[in-house]
């Protein structure tokens, strides 16, 4: 079983709260989303495992069970081409859940006209493999968002 942790602090809005239909309709996969605090901070590894993909605006960590979790920092943030993001780790790194991976500023993303909402998605998972999915309320980074069996 994989415990998936919040990469950022903020208000949980669920995938339905992501202003992008591909995420909102769970086409990328099931999961949840967090509207982050508008302050500079770090986005954390959601699970302990290996970073298989690290873009400034998005990353995937795969744990020992082969469960891959995508964290997507904001919507349409690929357009920023890395500006405003600081990589704190590298692809292939072994990381611990809660370890900072990317430095960013959600307030700056929002000021640029984009949503800073972070989708946290279980890749190649059926929705019924997820339990205790948090879909509302405030969350502190590092707190559990869902479990994946």
């Amino acid at each position: 079983m994989t415990r998936v942790l919040a990469p950022v602090s903020g208000r949980v809005v669920g995938l339905a709260g992501v202003p992008d239909p591909v995420f909102a309709q769970a086409m990328v996969g099931p999961g949840t989303a967090v509207d982050p605090e508008r302050a500079p901070g770090h986005a954390l590894a959601p699970v302990t495992g290996t970073i298989v993909k690290l873009h400034p605006h998005a990353y995937v960590v795969v744990d020992g069970e082969g469960h891959g979790v995508l964290v997507h920092l904001g919507i349409d943030t690929v357009q920023l081409k890395g500006e405003g993001f600081e990589l704190l780790a590298a692809e292939g790194d072994a990381v611990t859940a809660g370890q900072p991976l990317v430095g960013w500023n959600p307030a700056a993303i929002e000021a640029g006209g984009r949503s800073p909402i972070c989708a946290v998605v279980a890749l190649d998972a059926n929705a019924d493999a997820l339990s205790d999915v948090v879909e509302s309320g405030e969350v502190d980074k590092g707190a559990e968002l869902f479990t994946w069996s």
């Binding site: 591909v22 298989v52 873009h55 995937v60 891959g68 919507i75 690929v78 890749l123 190649d124």
Partner: protein
Amino acid sequence: MTQRNVKIESKVGLHARPAAMFVQTAARAAGDVTVAKRGGGDPVNAKSILSVLGLDARHGEEIVISADGDGADALLDELEALLSKPEPEQA
């Protein structure tokens, strides 16, 4: 096994949004569907979003998609159409 070389026109490459569409389409096929970067790299399962995101195919790169069985050609047509769309820089 039917194969097709396709150049990725999506500005963001084969990432979040195009990747999700690609995988959903591939997943409807009964047989195996794989995708590889042209000129190197092992083919990965095109029905796995984790594998497709891990492939990290970018705008302008060529990939090879392969499918088995009945309807392979039609499926490859559909996948090619998805990748050939120069869709806006989103997700």
